[in-house]
Each structure stands twice: as C-alpha cells, then as structure tokens.
C-alpha cells in the first residue's frame, strides 16, 4: 500500500510540486518571522556582547541595557576601582535617543566615551577614526549603504550636530543602532555633567567574578552589580520580550495556513485516487493501512517542503541582508527543530481529514463515474 501511494504520488509529479510550493511558501513565512525576530534580538545585544567585561555596574534597580536608563555619580568609578580584585573600571554615559541622518530618524544607543575609554568603544572600524573627538560621531557602516552617508557628513542627535568621523562594523540594528560620541558631548545633550551610566569592570587575573561581584555589592552603595553573563541574559530576555507575543501569534497563523494547504493537498491527491483506494479496500486492505499510506504521502509533502523552505531561507537570508542591510535574520537549530516538529504534527493532523474521508468511502460508490 505504501509503495503504491508513493508510486501514485510520483505519477502526479506536477500536482505534487505545486502542492509543495504552497506548503513551502507558508513555512517560509513562519521561518522568516522567527529568523527576523531572533536576528534582531541578537543584534540588540551586540554592544554588551562585544564589550565583554567581567562585571557590569549600573544604577540600582537596573538590570540590562536595552531600553534602560541608568545614571551614577562619577565618583562611583573611584569606589569600584578601589575594590580589591578590580583591574579596571571603564565608564560610559549612555542614552537611547533618535539620531537624524539625512532626514531620517534612527532609534539609537548613544554611547558617550571618555578619552581613556577606548575599551568601551567600537570593536571593529571600517573607515575613519576609532575614537571620536569633540563634535564627532562614529556610526555603523550600514548607514553608508542605506543613506549614502559619507565621512564628514553631518548627523543630528537632539539639537546637536555631529560630524561623521568613522564607520563601525556590526553596530547596526533596526531597533538599536550603536553610535559613539564623546562623553562631554552627551553631557551637553543631557544638559548635565558629572554622571556615568555603566561601569565595565575587568577583574585581576586569578580573581573570581562572583567573589569580586559580591565585594562590589558590599562596598559600593546604591548600585546594581551583575556578572557579564547575567547582564547579557537579561538584555537578551528584554529584547525577546518585545514583540514576542506577536511573533508567536503570527507563527501560529502561518502554521495554521500551512496545515490548511497540507490538508487541501492531501485531499486533492487522495481524491484523484479514490477508485484505486476503493479497489484496495475491496481487495481486503485494512483501514489502518490506508491511514498509514495517506499519512506517509502527506509526510512526504511536508518533509520535502520543510527541507525546501529551510534551503530557500539559507540561500535567501544573505541576499535579503545584502539588498536590505537594515534587516537582520538568523536561523538556529532550536528554530529548525521547533518549526519542523510543529509542521510534522500539523501535517499528520491535516492528513487525517482526507484519510478519514477515504476510508469511509464505499467501494461501490467510488467506482461509479
């Protein structure tokens, strides 16, 4: 029976191909949504991920960077520096704000650096300076591709105009573009001085992160102290939190759509072979054989469509990212497993409809023209 159904499917290559195209496109929608969400969430944590200090110190109550506001007095830097086991504490001043680039507004992480804070600056520079001077800004290279921005061009942050002095790599994100300016410039924008936002703490060799973290917590008042891993986890969780319900709903809709197409495909493939199936029934094949054969036929469509959709995405993602550099997409093994299991389960459920209709056909009725 299974061999027969596979042979029948092969005989209807074009129909099968058309069905697979429908299922593949629905699965591509689900994968694209997930890939965009994961890609963007990873981009959002790019700055802390690349900085990789051992410990982060920030305002009490704050636990991450994305969408956060934190201020500490500058003297906290000295207090942290004085804690045993701390090798270096690098301050940054930071706000989320809009940057106007050639008439477009970009939501940005504005990182204000002191002259000595190269450690907290860009991790990869493609052109121009690696540290900004007064009135200068280092921006992602993606803006060069997106808006034709060049070195020496002007951009605005609040009411201040900055000159583009350098292009950085891997700092662009739809939700949070990382730009670097001098701390004193950011103080001008904030109309205040004497404050920092985060301290990036590196510890002495041989010291343990949890021990030094505890020491800072004990010795420095009114601050939040987190290990790098805790901080990154919180930031990633926060990034994933935004829009997670929507992506889940959209994925469900995409999956439901794929299931319907699978059911339709299964039904049309089976409906065409009603007579043959009726003959098989009259020859004594059991209902379970017919169920199994139809489920296997549908699984064939689902598995090939799944493979095709993932191959398509693997090929298309770099092309999309080149054509639209503001889009960041990423596939993961967890995503592949999750989408594949959902598609296979919904495929099995969807194939039960045509299977049920088929096993309930009376051979005599099916043979009527």
């Amino acid at each position: 029976m299974i061999f027969w159904i596979l042979k029948t499917a092969w005989r209807q290559k074009l129909s099968l191909l058309a069905s697979m195209a429908g299922v593949t496109s629905a699965l591509i929608l689900v994968i694209a949504l997930d890939a965009i969400f994961l890609g963007e969430s990873n981009k959002i944590v790019n700055y802390p991920k690349h900085m990789q200090p051992d410990i982060w110190v920030m305002q009490k109550g704050v636990k991450n960077m994305h969408m956060a506001t934190t201020f500490l007095s500058e003297w906290v830097e000295d207090e942290v520096q004085a804690v045993a086991g701390v090798k270096r504490a690098t301050p940054i001043l930071y706000i989320n704000s809009m940057m106007a680039v050639k008439g477009r507004e970009l939501f940005s992480y504005i990182v204000g650096l002191t002259r000595e804070a190269k450690r907290a600056g860009p991790w990869s520079v493609s052109a121009g300076k690696s540290m900004p001077d007064r009135g200068e800004v280092l921006v992602p290279q993606t803006l060069e591709k997106l808006f034709g921005l060049e070195l020496g061009d002007a951009v605005n942050i609040a009411e201040k105009t900055f000159t583009v002095a350098g292009f950085t790599h891997d700092t662009f994100s739809m939700a949070n573009t990382v730009v670097f300016i001098q701390k004193s410039d950011l103080e001008d924008i904030l109309k205040t001085g004497g404050f920092i936002s985060y301290l990036l703490v590196d510890i002495e060799a041989g010291e343990k992160v949890d021990v030094v973290t505890e020491r800072i917590r004990k010795e420095v008042r009114k601050v939040s102290v987190l290990s790098h891993q805790e901080f990154i986890n919180n930031d990633f969780k926060m990034a994933m939190m935004m829009g997670v319900e929507l992506v889940s709903f959209m994925s469900m809709i995409g999956t439901a759509l794929a299931s319907l197409i699978i059911a339709f495909t299964g039904y049309t493939l089976v409906a065409r072979n009603r007579k043959e199936i009726a003959i098989a029934k009259s020859m004594g094949f059991r209902n379970s054989d017919i169920y199994l054969a139809i489920i296997i036929q549908t699984m064939l469509v689902v598995v090939i469509s799944l493979t095709a959709s993932f191959i398509f995405c693997v090929i298309a993602i770099p092309l999309i990212e080149t054509a639209a550099p503001q889009i960041s997409m990423q596939l993961s093994a967890e995503m592949v497993g999750r989408i594949a299991s959902v598609a296979i389960i919904s495929g099995v459920l969807a194939s039960l409809i045509p299977a049920y209709l088929t096993v309930n056909v009376e051979p005599v009725n099916a043979m009527r023209v």
Binding site: L72, F107, M174, M250, I253, L257
Partner: protein, 378 residues
C-alpha cells in the same frame, strides 16, 4: 459559462469548501500582516489624540513624541503661554522604565502629567487621586495580572494601581501614568539617581489653543520667537512618529507582506492547476462540443472569481476573529483588519494574483484534445 462554473463548484461541495477555506486563510493572513502595520500607525494617532492638544512643544532638535528623550527648561511653560493664541500650556514628562515582575521584564513608558494629558479613559478602577497612585495600560494589567489596588513597583518604589486604562500604547511599548507629585515622591523615595536634574522634569508641553486660534499659525509663532524649543501640530508630530516607525520596521513589514502575497499567488495557482487537471475530461468534452479555448478559460476565471468572492468575506471574518483574539490576549497590539485602505489593497492584491495564477493552467487547457473525451469513454 458562469452557470457551468457554479455547477462545477457544487459538484464536489467538500472540495470546494476546502479550497475556499485555504483561500480564506491566505486572505486572513494578508489582512493580519497588513493590519499590524496599520495598527502601529493608528496607535501613534491615538496616543497623541488622547493627550487632547492640537499643538505639542518639544526640545529643539526633537521631532518625535515616542521613543525620545526631550527636555524643556522650567520656564518653557510661561514662555509658550505668552504666545498669541495660546490659552494654556500643560507640561508632561515621559520616561522609559523597565517593569519587572515574577521574572518577566517589560519596557514601559511612564507619562507624568499635571492636570491635563493623562489617561483618556479608565476601564477599571479610578483615576489618579494622590501621589502614590498610578494608572496602567490594559496590556500591562493583562501581562502581569494586575488589578486596581495592587502595588506596581518601579525601581523599588511602590505605587498603588488606582485604575486601568486602555489604548495607551505606542510602538510596542505600553504607558503608565503618574502625577508630578507622584514623580517627586518616586525620585526622592527611591533614591535611585544622584541628582533630580537627571530626570527631564518637562519633556513636552501640550498647548491648549484659544478658540479663534489657528494651530499652524501658533506653531509658526512659537518656532519663530522661542529659542531652544520646537512646536508641531498634532498631525505633524504623528507624521514624524509614523515615519520613524516606517524607517525602523518598514523593510521587515514589507518583506512579510510580500511573502504573504507570494503565498497567495502560489496557493491560487495550485488550486487552479489542480482543478483544471481534474477536469481534463470535462474540458475535452466541451472542446468536442465546439467550445473554443477562450470560453474554457472564461469558465476557469469565473470559477476563481466566485471562489474569491466567497473567500474574501470569510477571510475577513477569520481575520477579525483572530485579530480580536490577539488584541484580547495581548492588548499591546492593535490590528485594525477592517481598515478601508487595507481592505482595498488586499482586494486589489487578490485580484492581481488571481489573474497571474490564471495563466498557470492555460497550457493544460490548450493541450487538452477533444478526442480525450472519446478515449476515456472506451
């Protein structure tokens, strides 16, 4: 030919139903994806409309209301109220905070107001009565199972949830509302910042105009005569916020909508292809009876149009149901699937991809030979 198409659909009602269900699902998907984009824009309009001001004043260089830090000097209110046509200017402050509860974190905007510009509607509980009170959006209340009377902790400072408002969200971020007294208590009691000046105490001014004043004229007067500030009409500010959303999410949303359109073309092509293949004998008979190629194409097109005419309202009903479910479970999102512009765009897209898909089986119809009818009868 029209009658033939109708009869063809009635011949196998289950198959026709399943086909139309698949089409409806495609249409519903297109509508929901499009509605997400429309919803983001509508929330911008609603957020600004709920502040009940025709003119907004921001820090110079700041041209948005959402997702920005704007800081105005303390004297700004007096300066704006001196402008001809301004009846009164009301300060509001916005501040991003991160609310965490039971291990779940959510970015929230805190909007501080004096006696104007607060929550537009209270769906549960009471408005703000004292400095401990806070009003939260329904999306936060649902997410964290918050009721009026519950505490709402911000940086270790406990507010009391006085009421729950609805529709106070923009750009996937909900709002909570506190009074200026509440803000001062929060800053001093929480001891979280080293200096009160770090908080922008006035972010925006909501300008109430005299009845005879023209918003555009007042905006022009403010921009000409007041330094360090910038005025916008509500429509201008909304346009700027929408443009920012478009700059950030436009490419992604377009990509997703494009994928849904491709699905539409593929599904309709699949349906037509399968249908024409299964009717090869009918076409052969019709050809043998003298029907020409164009007549047969017409019958396929009629059948497709009938299916679309039924599937579109069904898809719309499904989209309304799904959107209602999403909005009820996650009120942070607004999905206006019945937006006339969206319906029109989707209907036009359906028409276009149906026409494109109709080309798919033409060669099948053309190659169907009339003698097939006689061969199959043998």
């Amino acid at each position: 030919m029209f009658l033939l198409s109708v009869r063809q659909l009635l011949l196998n009602p289950f198959k026709s139903m399943l086909t139309m269900l698949a089409l409806s699902a495609v249409i519903a998907t297109m509508l929901i994806l499009g509605a997400f984009e429309k919803g983001l824009y509508r929330q911008v309009d609603q957020l600004l409309a709920d502040r009940r001001a025709e003119v907004f004043v921001t820090q110079k260089g700041i041209s948005n209301f959402v997702a920005v830090r704007s800081s105005l000097r303390q004297s700004s209110r007096r300066e704006i109220e001196a402008i001809k046509g301004v009846r009164q200017a009301y300060p509001v402050t916005t501040m991003p905070i991160i609310h965490g509860q039971s291990g779940v974190m959510m970015p929230v905007n805190m909007l501080v107001f004096d006696n104007y510009g607060g929550p537009a509607v209270i769906v549960q509980g009471n408005p703000i009565r004292d400095s401990r009170d806070i009003v939260v959006d329904l999306s936060i209340a649902r997410k964290f199972a918050i009721k009026p009377g519950d505490p709402f902790t911000v940086f270790g400072h406990d507010f009391n949830v006085a009421g729950i408002t609805q529709g106070a969200a923009s750009f996937m971020t909900p709002y909570v509302f506190v009074s200026y007294d509440g803000l001062l208590d929060f800053i001093f009691a929480s001891e979280i910042v080293p200096d009160i000046l770090l908080f922008p105490l006035v972010s925006f001014l909501l300008v109430d105009l005299e009845s005879s004043a023209d918003a555009e004229t007042v905006v022009a007067s403010i921009n000409e005569s007041v330094a360090g500030m910038q005025a916008f009409t509500r429509a201008q500010l909304a346009k700027n916020d929408k443009r920012m959303i478009d700059d950030m999410l436009g490419a992604v949303l377009s990509l997703l909508v494009a994928i849904s359109y491709v699905i539409g073309v593929l599904v309709v092509s699949l349906i037509i292809y399968v249908d024409v293949r299964s009717r090869a004998m009918s076409f052969a008979v019709l050809k043998a009876l003298g029907f020409d190629f164009m007549k047969l194409v017409q019958s396929v097109l009629f059948q497709l149009l009938i299916m679309l005419a039924i599937s579109f309202p069904v898809g719309l009903i499904a989209a309304v149901a799904v959107a209602g479910m999403i909005e009820s479970m996650a009120p942070l999102y607004l999905l206006p699937v019945t937006d006339p512009g969206l319906l029109l765009t989707t209907a036009v897209a359906c028409g276009i991809f149906s026409l494109l898909s109709a080309f798919c089986p033409l060669w099948l119809i053309r190659k169907t030979s009339p003698d097939l009818a006689f061969r199959m009868q043998q």
